[in-house]
Assembly symmetry: C2
Homo-oligomer: 210 residues x 2
Amino acid sequence: MQFTLEDITADEIDRRRGVYGPLTDSVRDLIDAVIRTEVDAADIDVARRRIDEVVADLRSRQIDGSYGVRFNTDAVGMPWGNAVMGVRNAIAPPVRTVADREGVTAEFTLGAAYEGPAHHVHGGVCAMVLDQVLGEAAAADDIPCFTGTITVTYRRPTPLGALSARAEIVDRDGRKKIVRGTLSDADGVTAEAEGVFIVPKNWSGPSNLK
Amino acid sequence: MQFTLEDITADEIDRRRGVYGPLTDSVRDLIDAVIRTEVDAADIDVARRRIDEVVADLRSRQIDGSYGVRFNTDAVGMPWGNAVMGVRNAIAPPVRTVADREGVTAEFTLGAAYEGPAHHVHGGVCAMVLDQVLGEAAAADDIPCFTGTITVTYRRPTPLGALSARAEIVDRDGRKKIVRGTLSDADGVTAEAEGVFIVPKNWSGPSNLK
């Protein structure tokens, strides 16, 4: 997998986060409004043309292709295009984890844009979020790995709203790390996941990529 | 699970699709542009304010909460808030399946907004798409069911771009349907999935929900 190095300071990263974060939040708000609006067809058409104008302005200068995974020379990561936690990706809820000694935890809200069954989170979105959280738990020991297999077991429908996820490495077997995690609402676990993460064959030393 | 009935004709559904589809496509375009733009901070700020104005206009009349899963009285479905295939949901790529005698197939494109590893599809997005496609294959026999478990095995990284997915019911065991599927690029399978789908205990007859 490729990484892009950008020779910028931590302060510059913070400045950029302050520029792109609010724009992305506004687009998240727009996604929700487009699902829920009841304005009439003429107003929808006006909205569409105004969005197209914004798109044209933003595209007047843009990178080729996708954002990639970027780091600065101090190994501070900027996975800002990431579909689950990217600062510049309005598809991302975003889900951001906090690490502790045993694993990682995330608290987040899934609104109308993450619906599958009526008023409940899409089962595929549950799987997507769990994949990210298990992957971060797997990488928390600083030994790089990729996802081999993930199994998600649905205990009951997950309601839209405030949710949390938790994951920990529970076992190791050669180049495999076994990671377990849960997705929960206020009443407890709604889905469980187990992932097998594989350390690359050619890996031979610590990673400094945070 | 709840469904909402709307007493509208197939023509009215088509008309609404023609109103909301282009708006949603424009928001998809915006999501991509926000990830990739290189315009300066002042222009980003202008874009954000213009988007906020569109949001305010759209929200001047809107439904409470999420879209739900709607049908008309002829049982034509409008799962338009769905996170993977919804006509009004810009998070949805969208992935739309075509049914044949044995199962369902979908062809779709995943761009910058679905990135995980640099220039590759997020593993969680692969799982999300496979969950939807397996779920549609499971429901293709018109016997309602919900997802019990899904296992995704990653064969190799999935590149961003044109992809396809395929799923079929491969076995039945009491109230369980076993469904298998694949995600592929032009060079072949990148990920495989197996799902166990459960028919509700109280189900006792054909469903007419298409």
